[in-house]
């Protein structure tokens, strides 16, 4: 799926009074236990996401094995997210969102790669950091 197709889907699924700021692809934590159990077949258990950042919050869209959207995603208003921790990386940037209820969402946002892949831009990252408390 190209970033244009993903953008169309995300724009359609966000609320009318909201506006999309940007989107990027991300990967869930490395499934170490599946790799220990299954070897290379553990790669089937990688989780991939499209993250839509809007004026009011962030949507997490889980992708299927074939890279298709599974559902309408999980939308969290900025007020529902307690903090975000941004780490450094060369091709991916680890982000840890801590929700008000204590749930932690760990993702690795894509920052480098092919042109058709949606990447985390400086503008989108700044928008996240301006709306959520950044912890180091």
């Amino acid at each position: 799926m190209t970033k244009e197709e993903a953008k169309k889907y995300i724009v359609k699924s966000i609320k009318q009074d909201d506006e999309l700021v940007g989107l990027f692809t991300a990967q869930g934590p490395f499934p170490i236990w599946w790799f220990l159990l299954l070897g290379p077949l553990g790669s089937l258990f990688f989780k991939f996401y499209y993250i839509g950042v809007t004026q009011k919050g962030i949507s997490f869209y889980r992708l299927s094995l074939m890279g298709k959207f599974k559902d309408n995603g999980d939308f969290f208003k900025f007020s529902e997210i307690k903090s975000v921790k941004v780490k450094g990386g060369f091709t991916q940037r680890p982000l840890i969102f801590t929700l008000i209820n204590g749930t932690k969402i760990k993702i690795k946002a894509q920052i480098k790669g092919l042109d058709r892949v949606a990447k985390l831009t400086e503008e989108v990252q700044k928008h996240i950091e301006n709306n959520i408390t950044v912890v180091s």
């Binding site: 077949l41 889980r62 094995l65 074939m66 298709k68 749930t103 969402i105």
Partner: protein
Amino acid sequence: MIYYITLSVLYIGMLLFIKPSPKSFRDKPLTITENFFAIKGSLALGFLILTVHLFISNFNFLEAESTLYNILALHHPKNTDFLISQFFTNTFVHLNIIHLVSNLSLIGLLSVYERRVGLKRFIMVVLVSGFFSGLSILFYNIDNTTSGISGVAFGLGAVFFTDEKNLTYKEWIYAILSFLFLALILSYQDFHKMQKIENIDLQVDYIGHFLGAFGAIVYTRLVRY
């Protein structure tokens, strides 16, 4: 009997206690009861093949006992021991404990498919791929028998890739190719392992695996969910 109890406890325990993370970040982690209801088909299927093996091995659980095995395993239609019911029963019969454990681990792993599509569709895929994999007997000698749930495991593995909502025709073909690539690697590795074992009178039914996967792929494409 001790093998049966140990394997049953391990199979059911691992499936119940190794829980996937919730579908949504808003959902609470699955309880044991919710997890049980999400994979009851896989649990029942595993328990069934373990129990069938207990009976056909005359309660020693190591090797299948020949009389019962002969009645339940699939024979060539020209063989005098052939029964039409064997197209159904051969899926649940295994020759020995190694055959059983290798297939059981695949069925346990593929419970992820049941979580996605639900019990009814899971059972239909098991039945369809079981029947199709049985057709492989037509490619073999009149004295051969086939048994085991591996054709079903390959069917479930195939539809794990191909049975997704809203897949275009092109994506569906990619999904089939992805599965075939994986299946060929696994079969190649298996083939080399079997070559190293000398004086063995059993063979892996690769045609059955392929037909099981084929039946499941066709069924899930024709009957969409």
